[in-house]
Symmetry: C2
Subunit: 375 residues, 2 copies
């Protein structure tokens, strides 16, 4: 393997791409990128290692933010929280971290592991445990493979530290969410810290480099390095991601609140361009989870639903969504690990209380295409 | 010092007396006494040691229940929780407990330390950190002396374990209460685990033996061993405790709910006997906190307010209080540590949102006596 380094100039690309894969959640990419750039500037570039290059003796620590994105854009994580969290996990399990990993390839949560890796002088793993972002702590591939959360660390900006050993992933989420709400709605978290052999088995590989490819497109370069105009970006992105362009519209109504440690709500879109006359609805809990076009299912969790600025293609988080914004909604298949019985039970529509069956986004798109052709 | 042992036959006396000092809270004495008796039966008597006999090298672990009494009478603590909590504190601070201590001399919370001591083969300290029971975790003499909660352990009957290191006592309470609510409203807790030198400085001494003296009276023996009739017990108790008999009445109205991890509410009493024609109101949050006679302050936290069965003198917890019950309300001075600026700020009426100034219960009683004599 040739050594790959994440330098300051890689950060914007990764952050932007991760915000697409973050499907509206995963923390604010801009805030996260500022922390990552600052710490790379201070401590030097971060080595990026492949999931397959992890050795059994490695101890891989996923680190990220937990809470409502609406809070975390206001209450920015301190560097001291990252170090405190790393020290807490080392103290709790008496094993020295040898690599950092994103628990999810969400916007901010792709950045905090890079920031922590820079700070601690450790490599970061090119992979994550979701292949996207999800709102709840047990929605990770470790859980699907039967691994528990292990020692779960929470630290906040007050200096509080909580280390729990929950009996399973659902309890980890409950206890961490309750503590996070007390801590003011956002905290730094470590869970599912495992040895290299477990991470090789469970992690979804190469998601940071995938994020970087997406980010490059959004910043105006295609895979060959050719320049892209703004109006070419979304289609180039869909080609790269095997994504479906679901809807172009304007935000006509928006309900959003911070409740139970989540940002929850829904957005209603009025169609523009080819979609004029149609209505679209997005339901979210930190992440975009359910998309319906004129009342009909267009895409649903665990498949990915991302909202992009119609003019620039840049991703918009659920927190940054504004009334009147002109957006494009795209959707793409989730990793196959989520398309299993365990995956759908953990992060499918039923878990969130949506009364719809999961249908693969590509099948929904094909059905719609066929109906249009028949009409 | 001669060796003192707590045997099965001491338990009922201590539990009953601690329920008086528990002022309605501190956990159910009967449920706690069953656990303590069972573990003494299995593992042998528990050595009782004086606060002053603690050595610097001792590591004293306060253990008890946290949550709403209404929950803990239904969801009885498992022995496994006590051991798990002791193992968790040892793991977290890497110091082996050498003695157990009640954090409060409340009903059930005077029993769990004895049960844990029997289980672990350790002595129990004759003292506690409140000299009564209080509803919140930071209401301890350690806090008044400027000591933080240290590593704070919570375990539940699901097998979850949470170890927090809160920045101060108020954060300890917030984080522990939030976790307890998730755990179902009751959990086993260790906090303020300190070396012998700190416990000698902070603990209120001899409260378990005080509880036993009270219990003996309520079970029908005065200090000299002479038999007491039921109708003599309450006056004997008041003499022993320097307590004031505030009111005899019948519960005419009762509001009580489990909210935020506490049992909160109020009871209205209609006077009987000499108090016929007067009304009395008790406000509680796990513990009895405020007593008013015909709208006038009769006693208020941090002074102790206890509700006893009018016929038998037996203490009644806030959870066990029932509509129609005939009761006597007594009140007595709290330990002088609570009558300081720090004590009143921590556990005085203002902290609980009661718009009254603290006036010593003995002064309120004198004022009332003088008014009656003048009338």
């Amino acid at each position: 393997m040739s050594e790959r380094l994440i330098t300051e100039s890689d950060i914007d690309e990764i952050a932007l791409g991760a915000a697409v894969l973050g499907t509206g959640g995963g923390g604010d990419p801009h805030v996260g990128s500022l922390i990552a750039k600052r710490l790379i500037r201070l401590h030097g570039p971060v080595r990026l290692i492949d999931v397959d290059d992890l050795e059994d003796r490695d101890f891989v620590v996923p680190i990220g933010g937990i809470g409502a994105p609406s809070v975390s854009v206001e209450r920015i994580q301190a560097e001291s929280e990252l170090l405190a969290a790393l020290e807490a996990i080392e103290g709790a399990v008496r094993r020295v971290p040898t690599a950092i990993m994103p628990i999810e390839v969400g916007g901010g949560n792709s950045m905090l592991p890079i920031a922590a890796a820079a700070l601690a002088g450790l490599p970061v793993v090119d992979g994550d445990a979701m292949g996207r972002a999800f709102p709840e702590a047990q929605m990770v591939t470790f859980h699907l493979a039967g691994y528990g959360p292990g020692a779960t660390v929470l630290v906040d900006h007050h200096g509080n530290e909580v280390v729990s050993r929950p009996v399973d992933g659902a309890w980890s989420e409950r206890l961490a969410r309750a503590a996070t709400v007390e801590m003011g709605g956002a905290a730094t978290m470590i869970d599912y810290a495992y040895g290299g052999e477990v991470v090789r088995e469970c992690a979804i590989p190469a998601t940071l480099t995938q994020a970087q490819r997406i980010g490059r497109i959004l910043l105006g370069r295609d895979a060959s390095g050719a320049e892209l105009r703004d109006d070419e970006k979304i289609d180039a992105l869909c080609a790269e991601l095997d994504a479906v362009r679901l809807f172009d519209g304007k935000v006509a109504d928006l309900q959003r609140e911070v409740v139970g440690g989540f940002t929850r709500g829904a957005a209603e879109l009025d169609g523009v361009g080819e979609d004029r006359g149609s209505a679209f609805r997005l339901d979210f809990q930190n992440e975009m989870l359910l998309a319906r076009r004129d009342g009909e299912l267009a895409a649903v969790t665990p498949d990915l639903i991302a909202v992009l600025d119609l003019a620039t293609g840049l991703p918009i988080t659920t927190e940054a969504l504004r009334y009147g914004a002109r957006v494009t909604v795209i959707a793409m298949p989730c990793h196959e690990k989520w398309r299993t019985e365990a995956g759908l039970a953990t992060a499918g529509p039923g878990h969130f209380g949506y009364d719809v069956d999961w249908i693969p986004v590509e099948q929904l798109a094909r059905q719609r295409r066929e109906r249009k052709e028949a009409a």
